[in-house]
């Protein structure tokens, strides 16, 4: 059975005070706008919006702690990796201003590891951190704030055909279901003396040893999908236009939110066309190095 995210009605939640369609439109506008900038000055307003949404969502810290720490940790890891290697940023800057260079005291097959700290790398890491954190925060709140009973009608209301809208509904619920099945399989294999943390050997050997987890989880997902298809077929899904039991109605505040979202997106596109919002490093800082 598909399980739902841990949604519940929260008092005074800013997100939940809107029609889910309006919120999804606003979210998509913010997402596309954020992705169109590398300039940290342009990214900061989106970071502020994300933080405002987070703090007014009514979601308790203990509910999202694990997911939040995982995502933020992931973002930090990649930002630092990019900073250390210099890869990734070279697409948005050509020239680098060296602040300091660390050369290793050893060589590997004639290659000496060198760590260069440049103004561009530092600013790229900051921009990346702000950019991805803003998106992650907005995204992570969706499953906690949107009523699972409205997933289907929300996507339908956004203009998707019946089948796609219901498929989106099922996909949204598939993620927590997959998580539950993964945990059950982990438990079942641990009860057979399997210890994931003690897996050893080369890369291929390690991947092979993950079979006891990934094979049952995959097979279970396939069987589960077949069950869902059977259950849908047996109740005439997809034979024609369907009626959606729930009805969503836009209120004035929803229209305002959509207007704000569209305005942000339009402004971002215009600003982008005007050549603003590209990767930025303070002139003064470059002059110093």
């Amino acid at each position: 059975m598909l399980v739902a995210w841990r949604y519940r009605i929260r008092e005074n939640s800013f997100i939940q005070s809107f029609d889910p369609r309006a919120w999804v439109i606003f979210y998509l506008c913010c997402l596309v706008s954020t992705l169109s900038f590398w300039d940290v000055r342009f990214l900061l307003p989106f970071f502020v919006i994300a933080m405002f949404v987070l703090l007014t969502s009514g979601v308790q810290w203990h509910e999202i702690r694990r997911a939040f720490l995982f995502i933020v940790g992931f973002v930090f890891f990649f930002a630092i990796l990019t900073f250390l290697t210099g890869r990734g940023g070279t697409e948005v800057y050509k020239q680098e201003h060296l602040i300091r260079e660390f050369r290793a005291s050893f060589s590997l097959l004639g290659w000496t590891p060198v760590l260069k700290i440049t103004v561009e790398r530092a600013f790229f890491a900051i921009s990346q951190l702000v950019r991805v954190t803003s998106i992650a925060v907005m995204t992570i709140l969706i499953p906690y704030s949107l009523n699972p009973a409205y997933y289907g009608i929300t996507f339908k209301g956004l203009g998707l055909p019946d089948k796609f809208a219901y498929a989106m509904d099922l996909t949204m619920r598939f993620i927590p279901t997959f998580g539950r099945d993964f945990q059950l399989t982990m438990d079942a294999q641990r009860a057979r003396g399997y210890e994931l943390e003690k897996i050893s050997g080369g890369l291929i050997a390690q991947v092979r040893k993950l079979g006891p987890i990934f094979v049952p989880v995959t097979i279970h997902a396939i069987i589960g999908s077949e069950d869902i298809i059977d259950a849908m077929d047996l109740r005439a899904f997809g034979v024609g236009p369907r009626t959606w039991l729930d009805v969503l109605t836009y209120q004035t505040r929803d229209r305002i939110l959509i207007a704000v979202g569209v305005a942000i997106l339009s402004a971002s596109i215009v600003v982008g066309f005007m050549g603003y919002g590209k990767f930025w490093v303070p002139e003064a800082l470059m002059g110093m190095f």
């Binding site: 399997y194 210890e195 005439a236």
Partner: protein, 562 residues
């Protein structure tokens, strides 16, 4: 008294007359005529030349061992065969005179509703109201009509109070009723139920059966595939069909069933078994846990729960103050309603869950200080669902996985695998891929996989769910006679299983230990049983009646000789 063979001939004649009538009539809800089917990727037909009819207002119980073709028959009738499952099909299925193969699935679904074995596999909606409305939404009905039919179905099944509940928060019995309501809302004339009781506690099963009887009395035709024959007989099905190897072995009234089927294959009411078993030699008495000698039975507890409380979320507690010891020689049956905390309780014993307060000791070691893998060498745990653990390319490798993790020697593993396969009657499947086996066989592989680990304590979570009677009785006999185990614990909804095999019964309800004692002490209190959704069976009643003579609970075959 009429000899059995005459009855068989008479039944066969009745069957043919039925067929002739069916051909002549187009108003019968369902006519199955000479139906055969072979799955595309399998050798041999799953069902051969089945012919029968079903009348309006009739409950037809379909019984038979796992793999006898019951589910294939259901899939042929509801149209999933040949639409979703491909293969060679011959014969006809007529619904009110119309041949279903010419219909679209949407047409079939308005005439024939199907309730699957596990309601979890069927429920799609997040809220009860959405789930019940799903089929009607797909048919594009006006919203007002949908709401009216949803309320009608919920009222009919007396579950209107569930209307706005989240489906995942429902109990097993409630889920089954909601699945049924979703079917009823489409106003079918025929309802197919494929093992609807498999995962339900006795009281939920009884509720579901009562609803089914009510539907038949309203004029619907019901085909119910079920292993729990005795439970279904309580609602007096009009006819019973017994299938074996894809063919109909018996089709007739209930009274004839016990005369033609082997009482070891189908679970019949205890009185019927006693009557039949009198003619056979008495069953061989099994020696329970032969490895436990009387000198073992004192000393330190194998598992100890000290005031254990647990909750997944900080504010909701699921287990409250559990105190008990599991000692050498204990064969413990854990009974209780769906969602009572039974699985949560046993998961503490293997350390998969750690208590929020209190302590659990396994072999004298606190589970918070040991890994699950370390505890597994002491305590083997068979999960409810086999599909969560099977992964290996062959059954042999699947069984060797646990012992290999525990660093058993190659020779040891060879021996353990062979013995475990023998116990679950799968020696001929050693080289088969476990994932290609039937559900019942997969379940037995999952049990064998734990048996092969030779832990000292065996814990099984609903080992008999979805299994046919003969198979589960055989493997329970074998498991209890294994010398390696010092204690066995099994969670079950089958009161008879507890009565026959356990020497200690626990009742858990609402996360509390309600009763703990000998079966004859715990199971004699019918009021307490009913309060905890456990329904006394004919075997339990018979055992209690004869307890002063026998001094303990026995299986019906044994009672026949006392």
């Amino acid at each position: 008294m009429i000899p059995d063979w005459i009855n068989i001939v008479l039944d066969s004649l009745r069957l043919r007359i039925d067929n002739i009538n069916a051909m002549a009539s187009t108003s019968l809800p369902l006519v199955v005529d000479n139906l055969s089917f072979r799955y595309r990727d399998r050798q041999g037909a799953a069902i051969h030349n089945l012919s029968f009819t079903v009348n309006a207002g009739e409950v037809l119980l379909i019984a038979g061992a796992s793999g006898c073709g019951k589910t294939t028959l259901v899939r042929c009738i509801n149209g999933l065969i040949p639409r979703s499952y491909k293969g060679e099909m011959s014969g006809k299925i007529l619904v009110f005179g119309g041949e279903v193969k010419d219909w679209k699935l949407s047409q079939i679904s308005q005439k024939i509703g199907t309730v699957l074995q596990d309601p979890e596999r069927q429920i799609l909606g997040t809220k009860v109201v959405n789930e019940v409305a799903f089929g009607l939404e797909n048919l594009g009905m006006p919203r007002g009509e949908i709401f009216s039919r949803v309320d009608e179905s919920l009222n009919f099944l007396k579950i209107s109070h569930l209307r706005n509940r989240d489906t995942f928060s429902l109990s097993g019995g409630e889920k089954q009723k909601v699945a049924l309501a979703g079917i009823l809302a489409m106003r079918p004339s025929i309802i197919l139920l494929d093992e609807p009781l498999a995962s339900l506690d006795p009281a939920s099963a009884q509720d579901t059966l009562d609803a089914v009887r009510l539907l038949a009395d309203q004029g619907l035709s019901i085909l119910m595939v079920e292993h729990r024959v005795e439970d279904v007989l309580r609602i007096k099905p009009e006819r019973v069909m017994f299938m074996s190897e894809g063919e109909i072995r018996y089709l007739g009234d209930v009274s004839g069933l016990s005369k033609v089927v082997n009482y070891r294959e189908v679970k019949l009411p205890a009185e019927d078994i006693v009557e039949r078993a009198k003619l056979d030699p008495p069953p061989v008495e099994i020696k329970v846990l032969p490895g436990v000698t009387s000198s073992h039975s004192s000393g330190e507890a194998l598992v100890k729960f000290e005031n254990v409380a647990f909750g997944y979320e900080s504010e909701v507690e699921i287990l409250h103050g559990i105190n008990l010891q599991i000692n050498r020689g204990d064969v413990i049956a854990v009974l209780g309603p769906n969602g009572a905390g039974k699985t949560t309780f046993v998961k503490h014993a293997i350390g998969l869950l750690k208590p929020k307060s209190g302590k659990v000791f396994v072999g004298g070691r606190d589970t918070t200080e040991a890994s699950v893998a370390e505890i597994a060498s002491m305590l083997g745990y068979v999960f409810q669902s086999p599909s969560h653990m099977l992964f290996a390319p062959t059954v042999r490798e699947e069984l060797a996985f646990g012992p290999t993790n525990m660093k058993h020697t190659k020779e040891q593993i060879e021996l353990e695998v062979k013995e475990a396969l023998k116990i679950v009657n799968l020696s001929d499947k050693e080289k088969d891929p476990p994932l290609a086996l039937s559900f019942g066989q997969q379940k037995r592989v999952s049990i064998a996989a734990i048996l092969a680990m030779r832990s000292r304590i065996l814990v099984m979570d609903e080992p008999t769910a979805g299994q046919d009677y003969q198979n589960y009785m055989n493997f329970m006999d074998s498991i209890l006679q294994m010398p390696a185990f010092e204690a066995i614990i099994f969670i079950t909804h089958d009161v008879d299983l507890a009565a026959i095999y356990a020497n200690r019964v626990l009742i858990i309800a609402d996360g509390r230990l309600i009763a703990d004692g000998k079966p004859q002490d715990v199971l004699r209190d019918f009021d307490r049983l009913k309060a905890n959704r456990i329904i006394p069976t004919s075997l339990l009643a018979l055992n209690l009646k004869r307890l002063s003579t026998t001094g303990r609970f026995m299986r019906a075959e044994a009672l026949a000789h006392i």
